[in-house]
Symmetry: D2
Subunit: 384 residues, 4 copies
């Protein structure tokens, strides 16, 4: 298929955060181009944003419904190969369902939906339509996260015993939502964010990262959630004890009130033979620790790294970061989309997060909120 993929975008207009991340990640490898969008629920803002991106005004829409209707009728050589949804959480389900059912592949920001019920419904839509659906739990796009998973898979750590995953941020240490900061505004609003605040935004990333690397499922958890900042109703901090299906134990904690912390997602996995740790703020390194030999620092780009070279853009020592990891998710999505569009078989276990991961994330959020609301009791986590 000798052409770039064409995509449209729902949300992500002027003033948005994650929209520009998706755009950069999607286009940086020269494999895709943005050609359409409903960038805002405010039609003027949508139009202005389309102009910022040098789009044909005819393909910039005042609403996602208009866009779905119009784009579905485009001729084949103009047709969108996929649609990217980057709206607040409560506006994922509607466009995702509509575009899937209109015959489009979909990339959606996380968490997948507003609540678990929507997620399960959407899962059926994905299965029924057979379209590609990808969820941007972007941190698993990091090369050294993939390397970590590979080491676990090849049993280099032995049996996994303990998993520590944490995600402290500090940007909501004070009530900045009161001053109208847009990102803070919707993320602290139960009507738009869902039943969880910090746990929905950050906890679900942490859960996804732990599951991706270890391949283990959480079977029970005990969560203590708190809204520390006065006036806030959703949790801005949470600590969770974890038990996994192989008998491993763990701790997951996440926070938006860890003043001075930025985006300090990290994962530590301890096995019977060795251990590893990865820190998102230093993503090019993976630390591997042994009981009986020097600890090792594995660094992206070296020949000893067993992750496919396609995920690496620049040589060792030339730091890659957040955007490249995000772009790695897209790169895998492109392979699936090109297959789908060409009528070839879509990969069965693609290396990007799918609706299954989306549902697992919502199950986790649901369980955490339930545990907390019942006096932080232990909760069994339903297995899919």
């Amino acid at each position: 298929m000798k052409r770039k993929l064409r995509f449209g975008m729902i949300g992500g207009g002027r003033g948005a955060f994650i929209g520009s991340v998706h755009r950069i990640a999607a286009i940086m490898d020269g494999q895709a181009e943005l050609v359409a969008g409903a960038f805002s629920s405010d039609p003027q803002r949508s139009a202005d944003s389309g102009s910022d991106f040098y789009l044909d005004p005819l393909r910039v829409y005042p609403s996602y419904k208009d866009m779905a209707a119009a784009e579905a009728n485009r001729p084949k050589d103009e047709r969108l190969d996929f649609v990217v949804i980057v709206t607040p959480n409560h506006q994922h389900f509607g466009p995702a369902k509509l575009f899937l059912e209109s015959g489009f592949n979909v990339v959606c920001d996380k968490p997948v939906t507003f609540d678990l019920k929507q997620a399960r419904t959407l899962q059926k839509v994905v299965e029924r339509t057979g379209k590609v659906f990808a969820l941007t739990h972007n941190y698993t796009g990091n090369v050294m996260v993939k390397q970590a998973r590979d080491l676990v898979k090849r049993r280099k750590l032995g049996d996994i015993r303990k998993v520590l995953v944490e995600y402290p941020q500090g940007w909501l240490s004070s009530a900045i939502e009161a001053s109208g900061q847009k990102q803070a505004d919707w993320r602290t609003d139960p009507k738009r964010s869902g039943a969880a605040g910090c746990m929905g935004d950050l906890g679900s990333h942490a859960e996804n990262l732990a599951r991706y690397v270890t391949g283990l499922e959480i079977t029970e958890l005990c969560a203590d959630l708190t809204a520390f900042v006065p006036g806030r109703t959703l949790d801005d901090d949470g600590n969770v004890l974890l038990r996994f299906d192989n008998g491993a134990k763990g701790v997951l904690h996440a926070s938006q009130i860890s003043a001075g912390d930025e985006n300090a997602l990290s994962l530590r996995v301890y096995g019977s033979k060795a251990s590893l740790e990865w820190h998102q703020e230093h993503p090019n390194e993976l630390i591997v620790k042994y009981p009986d030999k020097p600890r090792e620092v594995w660094r992206r780009g070296n020949d000893y790294v067993t992750v496919p070279g396609q995920f690496t853009r620049v040589p060792f020592g030339h730091p890659e970061g957040y955007l490249e990891a995000f772009a790695n998710i897209y790169q895998e999505v492109f392979r699936a989309v090109r297959a789908e569009v060409s009528g070839r078989r879509v990969p069965r276990n693609p290396d990007f997060p799918t609706i299954t991961d989306g549902v697992a994330g919502m199950v986790f959020i649901d369980a955490v909120v339930k545990s907390a609301s019942r006096g932080s009791r232990w909760i069994k986590v339903p297995q899919s």
Copy 2:
């Protein structure tokens, strides 16, 4: 008082670990000298150890009881100013009580006793005798830990919201106790270690560190303890959710099976205005983080450090470590002992851990074990 202090030692003979740490810490500042001891329950080993230390054989004893009896009768100018107890946990209470009641000041390794009941009894003995009793929770001897406490006290962090304290070690990742490793042997034995393994050895340090720096008390906890290594009866790993008396939340986890981790005690304290973190393996630094200005690295030995200069032996950039922190505990003990011996008033709130801290540690261990044994339920922690 123009002389060195004289001390004797219970335990700490050939093959011991913590005994030599106490000796170095006690003598390095030229303020005290070892003159007597019952270094082992094996009389020959005790004698050989005394010879290693160049002691007068007449003051090297086959048992602590013999030692107490004989030393109590020494003339004043030979009399021991204090006794150091460095035996396994189940042998703290006996000698501590005996020496206190025989009129000696006592330094005791942690945890203070085998169980909480003994601790409460010993507390009464300490109060009744009026002697100095110090517990070597040595990590609070670190200058930058003291600096952390000072920042909290001066309200630089605002209100404390979250406390993360962890203590991962990996040396018991396999069943080395089976091969007769002496340290592993008694620490994994419920008859000598007490009701907790990892939580007694490491958890109590973590609890003490958190309490020292924050000044907060744990009011409730929920603990998930595990013995991962087959054949082990005491926990070698534990994860604990914490609630504090001011409404702060926290996590404490400790481990002896975190393969490849060494002695990775660390503390993070998050406040409404700023946060701090300290890592035992890099003890000369304290990281202070703010929501709105560059994070700071406070380094021992600088003029801006507000901790009294007496706790610093070498200038900035000349790393101090574990032994110097331990020696700082002794330095404070010496002030109290010199006062006691001279008939002056003993400091009321000395900057070393006391029997109060010892009881608090046993309360913590007791609560953790109770929580775990009741299905990891939340437990209210009794306040003294």
Copy 3:
């Protein structure tokens, strides 16, 4: 100007390294698109590469001369706004001169030319044509490098006294050029690389970084260059003493045989009041050190960072890397190119490296080689 900029590329076809870096950096912000190229001196490889990039075959050329001739005749609405030159060093001058004289703006990889004479000639061409000419000394695109420069400019460091800049790599520790590794092959060949190997490739980056941040010029230097790997004729390692025009002293060292080092460019600047350091492998941080207060870690993306926000794509804690810094160079180039293309005034002191920096780099390389070839004597560096 409501459209993306159009660019073409000389070199950078299949198997190249820096070509893909330029492509990603140029397109990631959605401001430019690749539409033409002479990607290789091998016509088939050029054609295949054009196909990889989904280009119109009519705009993929067998040579840069063909390309210049054909593209100069394109109608205005198809015309290239700039050309990117990413060939080996000995092939910079030819296409740069030709495209400038054919009326195109030019972005050229570093070092600017094969030798100093070419550089001075090219400088005249740039001045005469009035076109935009940018040199991708990409490291100055890093936000925290710009922050460093700003701190120096605002006199936060006082008078600069000492500059340490180093660039150790290890990838040429053995004679991999012998096995046909393409990058190694031309970089170790005096006919393609120029009079210097390591010093041309890495030393010139180091020189540029130091000059950018400090604003100082090197007036004298003493260089000791070595070819350590047997059979190599160009230096693969060099150590240089520096003297600056304000009386500051410094050291610059660079290496391709520092086994195990990756791309460890770093800069330290010491002033009378404070100092700073920046490490390319951890580019999101800038360390600022004071004689009398805690050292600070400035981190990209925070409000206290005074660098214009345009250079930052993702929030604090979301690491940016090599490609984003490179893209920052392009972003500034785009502003100049848009001005030039629109007939507006081109910025006088743009924040990207210009032909002046290119000449300075060649003067440095020339002086280093002269010093080394004369027994590592001190050499006065001509000031422009």
Copy 4:
């Protein structure tokens, strides 16, 4: 020999810095005791200091000459086993020569003498008297420095190609000597410090560290020394190019005006097969880098560390620091002194710095100063 060693001290009274370091290092292992001293050229201060150390006033002297005379006449069972000299540089030679010739073993602070001539004379005295003479280039006492040397010796790095050693401090960034700071006062005074300031104090440590680890000798150097702080006559900063006897090249730089740096001695050694780096401020780690496998972090106290266990006092993860390294020098000295005192053969190549190292250090200082004073010309360094 079943007793502690007895030692006396020249210098190191109240207000001194390095004196207390020597005292702690000498006594911490319970192998030696301070029994005599001439602690200051001010008799009252000497007496007061003796009292601080609980010494017998009869063995506290107003001058080192008095002390030598009196102590030489002590009976055998009171006789000093060694004397420690911790005076400013210009007062090393006199007492060292006198005590050696009076039959005492001597430990002397570095640099060994005021100038090279004195050093050569002292070397003859040492040889003639056959006494133990040790120089406290303390950094080679670090376990991980010894490990580095061992790796080099066992050819794990292959052929050494490049050596980078640096020692930046910042404490003399301003003219604190003007305000009477005692340490600054004599170190910036050519009459007491010698021909070099920074290079004598720090450069000689750096040279010693490089030589100890690599086993290489410097054959040529080119030095650029500067006194940056107005009014200062001795260098407070210096940059030196190095050439070694095996063809390796290197850079040594040291500074007292690197504002905000503390005691940042570090060493990097690059070989044809691997490389290593060690940082004094994180002394428990040694980083080993390879071209083709993950870099390793070797950590003190592990079983894979090949350095004799005697140099390690506490287990891995319990940081050791400056004082322990210093004490390791003493520990080796004690072995030699016990042999000498017992009439046994003194070790031929002891693992502590000897007069040979002292002379090598003075040769280095002499060469550096000569190079600098001759316009920073290359100088051949005489080989002993």
